[in-house]
Amino acid sequence: MAELQTQNVKKQKPGLFKQNQLAIIVLVLLILFPFIMSLITGQPANEGKPKFWEGQFINFFIMAVYAMSYDLLMGYTGILSFGHAAFFGAGAYTMALWLTHFAPLISSQYKITLPGGMDITTTLLFIVALLLVLIVSILMGLFFSGASVRVKGVYFAMITLAIGEAFHILSKATDFVKWTGADEGLHGVPVPLWINPTQHRLRFYFMALFFMVVMYLFLKRVTESPTGRVFVAIRENENRVRMIGFNPATYRSLAFVTSAIAAGLSGAMFSLWNMSATPSMTSAVTTINALIMTILGGVGTLIGPILGAGLMQIFSQFFYQWFGARWPLVFGLIFIALVVFLPYGIVGTYRLRKQGMKAGWTRFTKQFSAKK
């Protein structure tokens, strides 16, 4: 027993760098990426080709968070939800509505300045926007989990599909055309100047990268927390979870709220990035994108959805260039092939292989030492 404990301790403390070598190298590369692009192309990091590629990456960072939020539900807690776009869209619309309608109204009447004379009204209003997104996301999460009290599995998935569609219809309802722009959506959202994605592309790039890294660390922490372990246990065997003294409904709600927060924030970021909020963000296609990204990368891993989002970004970019509007058709074929050949996704299959190799080695060395 003592032996195992020391092993446990050792496992945890092999140095932050050594443990996450690959992740840190990738992170450094991502930080340097705009400058490397600038060096290669000879154009400034905020213009031309570097700007275009930064845009690609910004999109990827935001979608990666969205995919991770979905995986927390599907991969970790085992909840199949087809209404995830509602979380994403709620975040996007909250941000866009606030910045379009409410923030200008308030800033035209009140000015908040620092003692030095600096005007911080827009910054404060932006923080309020983030808080609002948080609150709306929490409410959305609770709303969805409320539906899961009595209905399970596929039936629950159907209900979430219905709720998701309801929000989609709401987002393009002509009744609120003055507010939401109905089918058109909200465009030209007055994003605070200092993070305007067209003028300050480089800044936005780092903001999005920071957002993804923070959300990854947050979600990783959650999944490794005592609460996160219960999420996984619910996926494995909900009845037993109940019998050993956890109330599954509470943990499902928590999973939903956490997932909704991550999805809502990514939606808000997406609306800042596009300076718009449109009904397509709440549509079933957006939900399916989350599903595809998660399955591509590997269900039940957080790195998987990030990879999946990256792949999706690459596919959508190049395939559109090569195949035009018919690119989803080609992508669909590739997706089928990937599911057939890598049923656990890229990361999941890799981990299984690694585990198999490791087990094989242990068997091999054991036999060796036994003979001796």
Binding site: P226, R229, N237, R240, G245, P248
Partner: protein, 266 residues
């Protein structure tokens, strides 16, 4: 002597209907604290249904369940677990894709009050790991901590099943056929675990079991169920010599049991 008579769990006039079928009919049982109380009966007698009623998995159509005098009839299962009633299952009910350690660690975490520490790593709570390792050693799964539960052999899964229940440190343990599907060679190890639980001195075990030799040798009291109702209750000796029980359940197969029990206890 008085404390020996303390009733820890009581079922009062329990009745459970599934549609038209009456699975448990007017069952009243009193379980004394710190005893091993077995419930036996032929297949379909309603033993598991009674267990489900006691542990809150099912709600009775009529009747009550009291734990230390408190009415727990309508509490949800997770609340009942918090009161100190543990349950193991006839059909192995584990977390297949988690390691043995994690299976048991979860159970020890369940009642610990750190379940909502969302931003702390679960590895920071060493006490649950320690408790789990202790239980793993207790049930004889040492060396298999890191294996996935689904890769265990059947007998080991049964031990894990017990371990998950033990990790929560319950006062009353409902064991639903702990030896189900085990070979005879594996039974002594399990018996030893049950003995060690009783030796702790503060545990009450309610056991459903089909192995009559085992039931007769370890029980303090036995309740016999038949067709959903109670047939008899008493000490192993009384049950073995009970003519009604013999015809209803034990049959000819255990016809010589009376003699052997008498010889042992007399």
């Amino acid at each position: 002597m008085n404390s020996d008579r303390e009733i820890i769990l009581e079922a009062k006039n329990l009745r459970k209907e599934f549609g038209g079928l009456v699975a448990v009919e007017d069952v009243s049982v009193q379980i004394q604290a710190r005893t091993l109380h077995s419930i036996i009966g032929p297949n379909g007698a309603g033993k598991t249904t009674l267990f489900n009623l006691l542990s809150g998995v099912l709600k009775p159509t009529r009747g009550f369940v009291y734990f230390k005098g408190q009415d727990i009839t309508h509490l949800p299962p997770h609340r009942i677990a918090h009161l100190g009633i543990g349950r193991s299952f006839q059909i192995t009910n584990i977390f297949p894709n988690l390691t043995v350690l994690e299976n048991i660690r979860l159970a020890s975490q369940a009642l610990g009050g750190d379940n909502f520490r969302l931003l702390k790593a679960s590895s920071d709570f060493q006490k649950y790991v320690d408790k789990a390792l202790q239980v793993i050693e207790w049930v004889g799964l040492k060396g298999r901590e890191a294996d996935l539960a689904r890769n265990l052999a059947h007998g080991e899964k049964r031990k894990l099943e017990l371990g998950i229940m033990l990790a929560a440190d319950p006062q009353v343990l409902l064991l639903d056929e702990p030896t189900a599907g085990m070979s005879s060679e594996q039974v002594p190890a399990l018996l030893e675990i049950i003995h060690s639980i009783m030796n702790l001195g503060d545990k009450t075990i309610i056991l459903v079991e089909h192995r009559m030799d085992m039931v007769m040798s370890i029980s303090d009291r036995i309740t016999v169920m038949h067709l959903g109702g109670l047939l008899a209750e008493g000490t192993p000796q009384e049950i073995a010599s009970n003519q009604t029980v013999q015809t209803a359940y034990l049959g000819d197969l255990y016809g010589d049991l009376t003699e052997s029990m008498e010889g042992k206890n007399g």
